[in-house]
């Protein structure tokens, strides 16, 4: 059995805004396993970033965790519920950067423009460990080499603006990994990069994960990236997890109509170019005007009046590790197609 490192259960996050309360997460549950990569995939606004930020207690205001738990199991097997920890408290300061490292989409948001990159990578190290500067510097140079930054000694003194986008993202990864965290949370870390650079960064994350036996929670909207790196997949739609499964099941035996539709709407090399793409009709609902019942029902090709638009569907386990939130799952899904 795989060891669980994080268990998120029934997490609800609200943003009380002028026009009402945005329910960014509406009862999100999933597991992260030790040494595995879990991809969170979904379209914009589905709640991927809010999930990531909740796990570090760095929600933007006015966001707040309304209920639910984020149970983190540390090196000694001790369990902490991150959801109930104060953001600025001692426990979160000890977890952030040390136990859980984080990488964001846009590297410049994590870097200070006025400090040398070497110093920035060193900062979390000095914060969490009692180290002499010289020793810390050695560790930084080693990590810079490991994430593929050429000439670490010279680059140490560079400022972020002197680096390309790909190198900056490597700096941010070095910063996130310098304390050898047990979990890396990466929110669209390659979305702003070119495919060639993305391929290198994905390789790097994969290698480091193996070396360090780290768990990775990787957020993306790109199904190609998911297929390349995930062990497990969590599919989100409009604040809910609609399906969780291992990567092979997600791509080859998905059960949720949204997952199926999403997979069909991606253009694939070698597909028939004369056929239109299988687009999902309509669009993601506004967070303040979500439909009743199943949130996906106005766009779903399996929609059944009376079943799908009344109550929110429960999440059921079709297999021990395959969960689906759809009222019609189990009914022959090929019917009526």
């Amino acid at each position: 059995m795989d060891e669980t490192i994080v268990e998120v259960r029934d997490l609800r996050v609200d943003f009380p805004v002028m026009a009402g309360t945005i329910e960014a997460l509406r009862g999100v549950s999933f597991l992260l396993k030790r040494g595995k990569t879990t991809c969170i995939v979904g379209e914009s606004g589905s709640g991927k970033s809010v999930t990531a930020r909740s796990m570090m207690q760095i929600l933007q205001k006015p966001g707040r965790i309304a209920s639910g738990s984020i149970r983190y199991r540390d090196r000694d097997g001790k369990i902490t519920d991150i959801a109930t920890q104060p953001a600025g408290g001692r426990v979160m300061r000890a977890i952030r950067g040390r136990e859980i490292g984080m990488v964001f989409q846009e590297p410049m948001t994590s870097l200070s423009p006025v400090h040398r990159i070497g110093e920035q990578i060193m900062e979390p190290l000095l914060l969490h460990f009692r180290l002499q500067r010289a020793e810390a510097r050695e560790r930084v140079l080693e990590m810079m080499a490991r994430v593929g930054i050429p000439n670490p000694v010279q680059r140490f003194d560079n400022y972020p603006f002197q680096l390309s986008g790909g190198l900056r993202q490597r700096v941010v990864i070095a910063m996130a990994l310098i304390c050898e965290p047990r979990l890396l949370v990466a929110d669209e870390p390659t979305t702003a990069l070119d495919v060639t650079t993305q391929a290198n960064i994905l390789d790097l994350i994969r290698e480091l994960q193996e070396e360090m036996e780290m768990s990775v929670m990787f957020i993306t909207h790109d199904l190609g990236v998911v297929a390349e790196i995930a062990d497990d997949v969590v599919v989100m739609y409009a604040g809910s997890v609609v399906e969780t499964a291992d990567v092979d099941t997600t791509f080859h035996a998905p059960e949720h109509p949204y997952t199926r539709a999403l997979l069909q709407s991606v253009p694939r090399l070698s597909a028939d170019k004369d056929l239109p793409l299988a687009a999902i009709r309509g669009m993601v609902p506004h967070p303040l005007a979500r439909p009743r019942g199943c949130v996906f029902h106005p766009r779903c090709d399996r929609y059944l009046a009376g079943t799908c638009d009344t109550a929110e569907p429960a999440t059921i386990a079709v297999l021990p590790e395959h969960h689906v939130k759809c009222a019609r799952v189990g009914q022959d899904i090929t019917q009526g197609r």
Binding site: E43, S44, P150, S164, G165, G166, L167, D194, V195, T196, T197, Q198, A199, N200, L202, D203, H221, D222, L223, G224, V225, V226, A227, E228, A230, V247, D248, F251, H252, A261, L262, L263, S265, V266, P267, R268, L269, S270, A271, K273, P276, L277, A278, A279, I280, R281, M283, V284, R299
Partner: protein, 348 residues
């Protein structure tokens, strides 16, 4: 879809756009040149979709802006075949009033559906503006025309009175497309027109662009970085690397048998949406970063990252863009002898 023999609508010849690099401080002396586009030549055939791909900063947007004459290219010509049978004009030689009729023929769709629409104008004003600027009176006929255009792109006529903020990203992109269509253009330059959209909405927009192309006999220059989208939508693909065209070929041939090492590397980096292929395909990884267009390497601009560089001729001699037999252009000294791998899931 364009036949190989289809007439040339636009011919770009030796086009360059060099931006001056100035020193900091008050004097602002010119200390160098950014060669954003450097000696690019290709044809756009009537009715086809020609995609332009390449890494960030390789000059795709600059090329599009030169075609639109938003920029004044520093060298070269852009020969456009007008609606008058047989007449060809060089757009780079025209200005102001003389350029106006062709500005109606060649329109642009922008990347960012949020930034490209004026938030203080209604949808009716946005879509109708090019018509009004072209002298169309603000009357019932204009109102009807805007309504028709909205329906063409799959939006309801009643939306006309609304402002852009009331629309989602995909809908705003449709408004941008309706605006671009208002003057019955022949050529649309779409710069990353679907890149910012979510997959489900992206698929709708791509389907729409394909439908409109057939209905209006449109020609597209489609600038993009997502190679799966490019493979789906284009007849031919042009690959750029630091301001230069390195390969141009019919889509299928380019994906199945690239002739330039950079194309091979690009194709190899595309993530494949099938976990079962993950371990099966051998990937080429490019070392280093894209070259700096203000300091282009000697010889072949790709030699600093090319696995096949001979370290000699490749470093000294700029490879010319040559035409091969299969309707393909390529700029590599060894294009004929290298055996390069295509995209993993495309059968040869």
């Amino acid at each position: 879809m364009a036949e190989p023999s289809a007439a040339t609508l636009l011919e770009v010849r030796d086009l360059s756009m060099h931006f001056p690099v100035t020193s900091a401080g008050v004097l602002r002396r010119v200390v160098g040149q950014v060669k954003a586009v450097d000696g690019v030549s290709f044809c756009v055939r009537e009715g086809e979709t020609l995609s332009v791909v390449g890494e960030s900063g390789c000059g795709k947007t600059t090329l599009g802006r030169c075609i639109m004459r938003i920029y004044d290219p520093t060298a070269g010509s852009i020969r456009y075949r007008t609606r008058n049978e047989g007449e060809v004009v060089d757009l780079t030689a025209l200005d102001g009033r003389a350029l106006r009729p062709y500005r109606r023929d060649i329109r642009m769709i922008f990347q960012d559906p949020y930034a490209s629409l004026n938030p203080r104008m209604t949808v009716e004003e946005i879509v109708g503006e090019p018509l009004v600027l072209a002298g169309h009176p603000r009357n019932k006929a204009l109102h009807r025309r805007v309504g028709d255009l909205l329906e063409q792109v799959g939006l309801r006529r009643e939306y006309m009175a609304r402002y852009p903020h009331a629309f989602s990203g995909g809908e705003r992109q449709r408004i941008g497309i309706a605006r671009a269509l208002s003057l019955n253009p022949r050529l649309l330059v779409a710069d990353e027109a679907v890149s910012a959209l979510d997959v489900s909405v992206q698929a709708q927009t791509i389907n729409l662009l394909k439908k409109l192309q057939v209905e209006y006999k449109l020609t597209y220059v489609f600038i993009a970085h997502d190679l799966s989208v490019v493979e789906y939508i284009s007849d031919r693909v042009a690959v750029m690397y630091v301001g230069k065209l390195v390969e141009l070929a019919p889509t299928r041939a380019l994906f199945a048998r690239p002739a330039h090492p950079y194309t091979e590397a690009l194709l190899s980096a595309v993530p494949i949406p099938d976990p079962r292929l993950r371990k099966k395909v051998e990937r080429i990884r490019l070392a280093g970063e894209i070259a700096d267009p203000s300091n282009v390497p000697s010889g072949c601009p790709f030699h600093t990252r090319c696995a096949y560089s001979d370290g000699n001729r490749c470093v000294r001699e700029v490879p010319a863009l040559r035409t091969l037999e299969d309707d393909r252009q390529v700029a590599c000294h060894y294009a004929e002898t290298l055996e390069l791998k295509g995209a993993p899931q495309v059968a040869t």
